[in-house]
């Protein structure tokens, strides 16, 4: 079997400007943040991002990486709104396709099983139909009613962060919810899984039910071991959301000077630099 281990920078080396990238997790929960930080360090731009948005969206918007965003929401959970996403919207900096959150699931699933669309009543009568002019309707061939034809959301790349994986790409969630990470991987040409720890295959299920290995290696292009790679989002049970850091992130967005200082302190170096700066901050706080 192929050993698919690689680094964050290897992953970013396979990305191109203009790609459509799906990002796993949900809000400020189990986001592949070390992969996002690697994108921040790169020259990539004009990305189309598809996600249940959290600080991944905020950081990418703040760095000017996003051309278009497809989303149902962007939220930091314990703090309802992400400041950079708000600014990007209010400045007209990004194009958007806003859909009901359930429609993202339908679109990703359709792409993964290679059908062009799925019919749904979700979106009817709402902004979804009004603000997405490319969205088409479809008549029930067995009846008369008209439904929204949610198009497949084909991705160039999926980026997800899991609790555990083996070096072949079998990947496991240990928290309460798999979110839609397997659907992103199935919908993508290339899927990259970062994880808290790479373990032997046998160890994945030593103490866990097989359903926790939600992603099979046949969907996975590369595996990155990224301890605390989900920071500052929640990556239960390995760690909870770093609320103090998230507050700091939000406060720093208040003005350009404080944001520059935040970038300098945390995002000006590599991942090891980031993790050291985070540790230093929490030690100061303690």
């Amino acid at each position: 079997m192929r050993d698919k281990r690689m680094t964050e920078d290897d992953v970013v080396g396979r990305l191109r400007s203009g790609m459509t990238i799906g990002i796993g997790g949900w809000g400020s929960r189990r986001k592949p943040m070390s992969l996002i930080r690697a994108i921040l360090r790169s020259d990539l731009k004009d990305l189309t991002i598809v996600t249940y948005g959290g600080p991944d969206v905020g950081l990418l918007c703040a760095a000017g990486k996003v051309r278009k965003l497809m989303y149902g929401f962007v939220s930091l959970d314990s703090i309802p709104l992400d400041p950079h996403f708000r600014a990007a919207r209010q400045n007209g900096q990004i194009e958007v396709a806003e859909v009901d959150e359930g429609m993202l699931q339908l679109g990703l699933y359709a792409a993964g099983v290679r059908i062009p669309f799925l019919p749904t009543r979700v979106g009817l009568g709402s902004l979804v139909v009004e603000t997405n002019p490319e969205l088409r309707m479809v008549k029930d061939p067995y009846g008369d009613e008209e439904f929204v034809a949610m198009p497949a959301i084909g991705l160039d790349v999926a980026l997800v962060h899991m609790n555990r994986a083996d070096r072949f790409g079998n990947a496991q969630f240990l928290g309460p919810d798999p979110y839609f990470d397997d659907l992103y991987c199935a919908a993508a040409e290339q899927a990259f899984v970062s994880c808290e720890q790479i373990v032997d295959t046998a160890d994945l299920l030593a103490n866990q039910h097989p359903v926790t290995v939600r992603i099979s290696r046949m969907y996975v292009t590369g595996v990155v071991e990224a301890p605390r790679g989900g920071h500052f989002t929640n990556c239960a049970p390995d760690y909870e959301r770093d609320e103090a850091f998230q507050r700091r992130y939000v406060q720093a967005a208040a003005d350009p000077a404080s944001w520059s200082a935040f970038v300098e302190e945390f995002l000006s170096g590599d991942e090891a630099h980031y993790q050291r700066a985070v540790t230093a901050m929490s030690e100061q706080g303690a």
């Binding site: 949900w26 149902g72 919207r89 209010q90 007209g92 859909v99 359930g102 979804v128 309460p176």
Partner: protein, 252 residues
């Protein structure tokens, strides 16, 4: 029972929204709705399902703001919740930033969608909720800013929007009530215009009309929202909301 404050009357009004729902998923979004739904389940609606706010359906009653402490009865990941939504087995109570007479509700952004003045959460599940299962709303601050002639962006689908969209939108549409800090509202059957269902103790019809950006339907007899019983008040104050999270939404 006297001695209940406005926030506690709002809790009762939210709890009443879940009366008769039976064995479906209650999805209160907002602090007063959370307290209300737990009160409903603890007392008159025992079959209701409620989650821990993440991915578990949890039995029992625990304080608002505290981690769920009851027995986990089933798994409800987000993916399963979408299936529950589309199956119709759910009653959501959402907190819109704007709502109009037909029940169109906005949680996405203020201003134009292309270039919002204030970007908020995004549509979330509001479009799907409204056309799939019972949907209610909670407005902690009833004013002409929240009760508007026309919402800026339609997330939760109102009666007129659903009718325009066709039978597939109307088929499972089931807008129930809007609870605010001033009263409870539903929709007149014929016109589908918002109607006063009850006014909270101490509030007048004129006061409500004054605080609304559109004309409300006023029935000949306007009942007063019922107050909590002694037992309910005790439950709210000592078991379900001992830390008073309800006052973060309804100032007294």
């Amino acid at each position: 029972m006297s001695g209940a404050d406005r926030a506690e009357v709002c809790v009762i009004a939210c709890a009443e929204a879940f009366r008769g729902n039976g064995e479906i998923l209650g999805a209160p979004i907002g602090l007063v709705p959370i307290v209300g739904a737990r009160l409903a389940r603890h007392t008159f609606e025992p079959d209701l399902l409620l989650t821990d706010g993440e991915a578990m359906a949890v039995q029992g009653t625990w304080p608002a703001g505290a981690p769920a402490s009851g027995v986990v009865e089933s798994w409800l990941s987000y993916r399963q919740v979408f299936d529950v939504v589309w199956s119709g087995r759910r009653h959501v109570m959402m907190t819109p930033i704007q709502i109009d007479s037909y029940g169109n509700a906005n949680i996405s952004a203020i201003g134009s969608h292309a270039r919002p003045k204030a970007q908020l959460l995004g549509a979330r599940g509001a479009p799907g909720n409204a056309v799939s299962h019972p949907t209610s709303y909670w407005v902690p601050k009833h004013s002409t800013r929240t009760f508007v002639p026309q919402v800026d962006i339609i997330c939760g689908v109102g009666w007129d929007s659903a009718r325009k969209a066709g039978p597939a939108a109307m088929k499972y549409m089931d807008l129930r009530v809007v609870v605010t800090n001033l009263g409870v509202f539903d929709w007149e059957t014929e016109s589908r215009q918002m109607r006063i269902k009850s006014i909270h103790p101490g509030v007048t019809v004129d006061e409500i009309q004054e605080a609304s950006g559109f004309k409300l339907v006023v029935p000949a007899d306007v009942p007063v929202t019922r107050e909590p019983t002694d037992d309910e008040l005790e439950l709210i104050r000592t078991v379900i909301d001992p830390n008073g999270v309800r006052y973060r939404e309804v100032k007294i």
